[in-house]
Symmetry: C2
């Protein structure tokens, strides 16, 4: 059978997708069966255009350092394949004697990988295709969670804790803070802001996920209630919030741009809600929108996530060598406390193009926060405690003068 390995990265970058590539390559170096270790530049586009690089030509220290390098070192793309393209992919794979094709990506990529596996099977070309899960969105089915999620969750938990402390500090200004997180169709990322909270009065006070329709009146009432109680509100919203009609609450650009897969480019809901609050409640608000920074922050990466990303890469390679194909590696939660995980395999077909939303039991009844079940689920994934900050006891001095303000 063909003896060369081709690795591709796909979709949005994360803090840990390079860790998966490192796992794949370092494992491949251990297997005598594998000759060439190649990388596709910019994912599937690099395969189509035969833009391939020799990963054996890299220093081992560079490969090792991928574990601490965010984004996608081989480059990525968002590209919808045509039928004609599949034929070309096949030609490139055979021309380079590729026996192992490993692709790290989300559900679009798993679909592509599955179709390549099918085509090779039809043409009786011995190709082992393995999917390596990767998406900050955490929306792949079957796997307990996706590499990339733990790190974006840690970033948002820390950012929300910091930003809440900021909001708490300034009396009489910036009293409502909106944190707009990523999340096209699902609220996993937005939900992770809840991990910032230690006491009832800490932010975030409210969380809005796209799994529930966004109802302006309820939102304004929620905000007003917290504001009346505390004099401040910290809330997080998903960029993909939709109204009762299923329309995006706000997209960033005029009209809604869509990418090659027909997904809308989002962002801007924070700005929209700042205006809404200012108009309807007459309270000053501002928003933070960490944008792409949240998905590639190595400073806030989760060690659990980095390690699991490496592991799924390693496992994908070794199982392919053992003969598996047309599968994605999954993460299985073995133990809750202390957390430990294992890996499994699932047919690519079962994950391709499917989206896993935040389940009902993770969302509270009022649709404005997450439940303890979610906190239990997400806590181990962010890789250890968040920073603990000093809180002054603030023992009051006795007042000596008449009241002034």
């Amino acid at each position: 059978m063909p003896q060369n390995l081709l690795v591709a990265q796909s979709g949005g970058p994360t803090a840990v997708i390079n860790s998966s590539v490192c796992g794949i390559v370092e494992e491949a170096l251990q297997h005598g069966k594998i000759r060439g270790i190649y990388g596709a530049i910019n994912g599937i586009l690099g395969v189509l255009s035969e833009d391939l690089v020799d990963l054996r030509g890299e220093d081992t220290s560079t490969i090792r350092n991928l574990r601490r390098t965010p984004s996608a070192a081989l480059g990525s793309c968002r590209y919808k394949l045509s039928d004609r393209d599949y034929s070309r992919l096949y030609d490139v794979l055979t021309a380079h004697d590729i026996g192992y094709f490993l692709c790290a990506g989300g559900n679009d990529s798993m679909d592509t990988a599955h179709k390549i596996a099918k085509l090779a099977a039809e043409r009786k070309y011995e190709l082992r295709v393995m999917g390596v899960p990767k998406t900050v969105d955490n929306d792949l089915p079957v796997t307990d969670h996706c590499p990339g999620y733990g790190s974006v969750a840690r970033f948002n938990a820390i950012a929300t804790r910091d930003s809440s402390l900021d909001t708490e500090a300034i009396y009489t200004s910036d009293t409502i803070k909106i944190i707009e997180t990523m999340g096209r169709d699902t609220g996993w990322i937005t939900a992770s802001t809840a991990l910032a909270k230690q006491t009832e009065d800490d932010g975030p006070h409210l969380i809005y996920l796209p799994e529930r329709p966004f109802i302006e009146d309820s939102f304004l009432k929620d905000v007003k209630d917290v504001y009346d109680r505390l004099g401040r509100v910290v809330l997080s919203v998903c960029e993909g919030l939709k109204d009762e009609k299923g329309q995006f609450v706000k997209a960033s650009t005029k009209g809604i741009d869509t990418d090659k897969f027909g997904h809308a480019q989002l962002g801007g809901v924070g700005d929209y809600l700042v205006n809404l609050i200012s108009e309807k409640l007459k309270i000053k608000a501002r928003y933070d929108k960490p944008g792409t920074i949240q998905r590639v922050s190595m400073q806030c990466a989760s060690q659990v996530d980095l390690d699991e990303a490496y592991l799924v890469g390693q496992v994908a390679l070794s199982r392919a060598v053992e003969g598996e194909s047309d599968k994605m590696v999954t993460i299985i939660r073995k133990r809750k406390d202390p957390y430990s995980s294992d890996t499994g395999l699932v047919d690519l077909e079962k994950v391709a193009l499917r989206t896993r939303s935040v389940p009902d039991e993770f969302i509270n009844k009022n649709s404005n926060f997450v439940t303890k079940e979610f906190i239990d689920y997400a806590t181990p994934l962010i890789g250890g405690q968040l920073p603990e900050y000093a809180r002054l006891r603030k023992r009051k001095l006795e007042m000596k003068l008449p009241k002034y303000i």
Copy 2:
């Protein structure tokens, strides 16, 4: 003379203003002359309302941990004092036998501190007033730089490096990335994104500061030029960008809200430019707006900044005990390489309400980037190297098939 110390924090939180409070309190604990060590809750508002706390009532470990706690532990405010208020401040200070009033803040706070010092002098009340510089904006005059700046600069340098790597990775989408930084009147924060750049092709490619009028046509031409050369653009803009008429390019909320000092609440220029680029250049863009997260990120704090913030607090206290008053502590750059600093004193009057813009020699001729002089100035302040990421050599494989795309 009165023997009690009162500490207040003012203006926007930073990653290091608590470090200054720690410096003040730990130094005060060394001085037998100082009896009560008090804190004002929410800055000057706490003084007016006699909302004071006993900092000797805090555990020493809590005080110590302030060095790693962002935001403002005593609380802050933005409040414009009336003439009547000054009289009340005087009453509260005398009622609590305050002999030392130390205030950490920006130029508004230095004005307040100066007026309190003047009033006490007029009334022959023995009060020593010291200003502790603090502002992420880095716009206080006389001092080489302001505590708070090194950390926000480090955050933005790292965020820009990460976000650039993100933009570089995805071929054919998100090709223009705008990073919107804080900065009301000056471009110090925006300029710091330049520290992310290692090679000519790295982001940021363009930087726009409020020190230069924002001219739409030049901006679009700059963007197009970089895009044509690299196929991507990473640029940073200041939230306070103004056009040739001196009008803000874009404010976040409908109409421009102003705070108690008449400063406009900004934010939203990133969104505005995304639309502009999309309309005029027909290229997809997106923006990151870390917002308040940038000013309170302890994960990305600069150790040099943390140490200097502590030092200026310590020095403010010890110089006050020695008899100084109506002064602000400054930072003096003693040596360039290796960097070392010293402290000095300046009359509060000379810094109150004054703003230091980014000087001409730090901005390039085309008004779209900073100069090497700025890089040399800012590099030591961010406290050590930024994270170094792996770069693959990408040795190309020989192509075996005809060109396809």
